[in-house]
Amino acid sequence: MSDPVSPLGNARFDGFVSVREVGPLGMITLRAKSDVKELAAAIKAAVGTKVPAQRRIVINGDRAAGWMSPDEYLLVLPYDQVAAAMAAIATAMGGAHHLAADVSDARAIFRIEGAKAAQALQKLMPVDFATLEPGELRRSRAAQVAAAIWEQDNGFTLVCFRSVAAYVFGLLSHSAQAGSELA
């Protein structure tokens, strides 16, 4: 089997903050309502976390579960463990109405790192970073495309669609150029 390739081959830009394309990373979209009792076991089995609260992401090492909407969760995990996690979800959910889809390849993931990482994003997203709460997963737009971000390990993780990976990398590189720090 061929090795999976991330959209930009782990491209990197260094400005006043660094921008790295990371991945491939496993991602599962899990749609189910929060009051479905099997949900907690399914998320636990897949990524080992509790069900995230509204607009939160629960991080567990290299795995995480994020709240995307009242009936949608984003599960993050190593790429090669998606198939096992999908099977575990199917088992845990049983007959309960849900949808689980492997979206690992539908996404591009960036890390924006450095003390002023929020500033690079502040130029692109209509998001008040000063009021972003710890563990908050914020879905918004980065310039003209949808993006989700959360703060983690001295920086931010940004997820967008794969087809616009080059565009988003271009945006982030433009915003991170040395000398363009916000006052």
């Binding site: 509204q54 607009r55 909407s69 009242p70 209509p126 914020r138 879905r139 918004s140 737009r141 949808a146």
Partner: protein, 106 residues
């Protein structure tokens, strides 16, 4: 540029994160319905100067459709609420009535 709070995810979203969807609380008329009913469903839209109920989708956020009560003249927002309802919540209607005594009601 408007700000509307998404009732599903609690984000105070700005208009660029939203998509407008026209008038809320339309009743669908399907096969067998009278021409007048279908015409109203398809084409007749309220265009009040004042209180208006409308559909918005948090398209750059949680993706959910919600409904908003808004004054088209002053852009005051009376409230937002989930789309899974046939009419505006009673408390919202009362709030609007208090702020706009001349409002004829939903």
């Amino acid at each position: 540029m408007l700000i509307l709070e998404c009732p599903y995810c609690g984000v105070k979203a700005e208009e660029t994160e939203l998509s407008a969807g026209g008038e809320a609380h339309l009743k669908r008329f399907g096969p067998g319905s009278a021409d007048d009913d279908f015409e109203n469903y398809m084409f007749a839209r309220k265009n009040p100067k004042g209180v208006h109920f409308e559909r918005w989708r948090h398209s750059y956020g949680c993706g959910k459709w919600f409904l908003a009560a808004r004054c088209t003249a002053t852009l005051e927002v009376f409230g937002t609420y989930p789309a899974q309802t046939g009419e505006p919540p009673a408390d919202l209607q009362a709030k609007i009535k208090a702020k706009r005594p001349d409002w004829k009601g939903y």
